[in-house]
């Protein structure tokens, strides 16, 4: 009885077998040791990084502090210098030296940002509960509902940035892949487009933003809605699409001659030839392009959000810098890490998708 059940399970989960094998082999002694070693090295390097950072920020802090005391001494005399020294030592926020924050300060900033997010979320919920009746009446009258217009929390800001990047990425994909396929298929169109690509590819994100701004601003005349998001995602898409465009065109134009010969001998129609032979064989290159596009999109996003005043991480960083509050520098560093980690995760995501669609060209026949 028991055996039978086991057998059945084995049959059902046959597709899980490779996964199970991988998992069980993970737990083998040797691989446990080697993976322990790997994690050990990673943890060690992180600790080393934090340690160096801590020491570096301390040195900068001391330099800034002694400069402040020195300045007080020369400008206002001994008493002021002593007062300044005491003030700095007491941790009073008004006289803290403004320099690179230490890891501990960044950590506490992160926590305060999260706490802030909780406060704002509670605020929003309270607002919508309070306005529920009023809004229902407004909608019944055919008017717009009143929405929460308070400050955005850090999490909202991150989500806006991710939304902008994905919208831009999607735009890049929708523009670059079809055009890449078309110019990849036709050598004359390729040479017609070549100057266009060569000229516009190196243009800076800032200039793209200005160009998009000129156009969108005019299109939005008479419309009071906020167009910052639209401008920023279009600019991100236009900046980032070139890698996909070039890679797609190259992939499509350099399909293995053997496959083209097969298509000819089988007398495949144009549609069949493009979708069954040319596209599958250029998918790996297209996805390499898309991966570059996504990482470029994330990179230019910060600069473009800053310019477009879109409520994302770019604007957050800029406003914190302008703000100059006691924990502004720490918040900037928090944003830096969040940007880096999200960029890394996006790249991983694309890599997984890329591995899923590509076949090994060297092993294939």
């Amino acid at each position: 009885m028991g055996q039978e059940i086991i057998l059945k399970q084995g049959q059902n989960s046959s597709f899980l077998k490779p996964l199970l094998l991988k998992l069980t082999s993970r737990f083998q002694k040797k691989s446990v040791l080697s993976s322990l070693k790997k994690t050990g090295i990673t943890v060690l390097s992180i600790l080393l990084f934090l340690g160096l950072w801590h020491l570096g920020s301390k040195a900068l802090y001391n330099k800034e502090a002694s400069f402040k005391i020195e300045k007080a001494l020369t400008e206002r005399g001994q008493a002021a210098a002593d007062a300044e020294r005491d003030c700095i030592a007491s941790g009073e926020s008004s006289c803290q030296p403004n320099t690179l924050p230490s890891p501990a300060q960044v950590w506490s900033s992160l926590q305060s940002l999260i706490a802030d997010h909780k406060v704002i979320t509670a605020d929003k919920a309270a607002f919508s509960a309070k306005m529920a009746d009023v809004n229902a009446k407004l909608i019944a009258k055919g008017k717009d509902a009143i929405v929460y217009t308070g400050r955005a929390s850090f999490i909202d800001i991150v989500l806006t940035s991710i939304k902008t990047v994905f919208a831009g990425f999607l735009l890049a994909l929708l523009i670059a892949v079809p055009i890449g396929i078309i110019i990849g298929l036709s050598p004359s169109l390729r040479s017609a487009f070549n100057w266009f690509i060569q000229v516009f590819k190196p243009v800076s994100p800032v200039v793209w933003y200005l160009l998009v701004f000129m156009i969108v601003k005019t299109l939005y005349i008479g419309d009071s809605t906020d167009n910052a998001f639209v401008i920023s995602f279009i600019s991100v898409g236009l900046c980032a699409m070139w890698a996909t465009l070039v890679n797609t065109a190259m992939g499509v134009s350099s399909v293995d001659k053997d496959y083209i010969n097969v298509a000819k001998v089988l007398k495949l129609g144009t549609f069949q030839k493009v979708f069954k032979v040319i596209l599958p064989s250029s998918l790996p290159l297209i996805f390499t392009g898309l991966r570059i596009t996504l990482s470029v999109a994330w990179m230019v996003l910060i600069a473009i959000e800053l310019l477009a005043q879109s409520q994302g991480l770019g604007l957050f960083v800029w406003e914190e810098f302008q703000n100059g509050a006691n924990d502004s520098n720490a918040k900037i560093i928090v944003a830096m890490f969040v940007i880096g980690i999200i960029g890394f995760l996006l790249d991983r995501l694309m890599l997984t998708v890329q591995n899923g669609v590509s076949f090994n060209k060297n092993e294939a026949v």
């Binding site: 053997d258 010969n261 097969v262 000819k264 089988l266 007398k267 998918l283 076949f359 294939a364 026949v365």
Partner: protein
Amino acid sequence: MAYLELKNVYKTYGEGANQTEVLSNINLSIEEGEFVAIVGFTGSGKTTLVNLINGLLRPTSGEVLFKGKRVVDTSHERGVIFQNYSLLPWLTVGQNVFMAVREAYPKKDKSFLKKRVSEYVDMVGLTPAINKRPKELSGGMRQRVAVARALAMNPEMIIMDEPLGALDALTRGNLQDEILNIWSQDKRTALLITNDVDEGIYMADRIIPLKPGPKATLGPEFKIEIDRPRDKTALNDNLNFKKTRNAIIEYLMDIGESRKSSSSEEFKLPEVSPKSFVA
């Protein structure tokens, strides 16, 4: 009128000063139901010849006639088995064959096509591997898929471009028998390009050597008068086999010799002497 006919075919690549004549004055005629082998050195223009016949290339001058009509494009009437299999790596064995069958029978419904696919995959003994991708198969299995794909389109003529060149001797022998078996069932016309004289003698009715290029051209034909089905082991003691084999090899060797001696270029060795790194 011959089934397939090549008349004074020339093929050159490049233009102007860079022009090289690959094939020169090729004349060939093949009757219906015949099995012809063309033997030649590697790089002698065999693949170019195949591509002229299957319609992937057009001759620079002269004409290729198939059933009296000039060949201007590829056609389902002439099935091709490529040297490097040319399976599409993103499709499974079944899908690779299905793609060909659907093109050959555009009006038939799906169940007919599927039946035909499984029939031909079964014929080459790959039913257990029908859902595998080419990279999971061995070289011999891949070549069998290519054979199944070409035959499932029901061509009137099969053109094979060194189909077994990349295989080991044992697999090669097995596949030779399989191809002969399939050929003898409905006596399709077959053209085999190979670099193996024994393979040519074992399989074909006629062997024509291709003199090596540039300016490759066909040599005198050798008729193989050995009754079918031929027995590979007994063949080695067959007087006729030995005689034909020796004649062909002698001919090919002679061309090789004359090619060597015809090159008047003298190679000067550079004057170098070993350098001592000790002193």
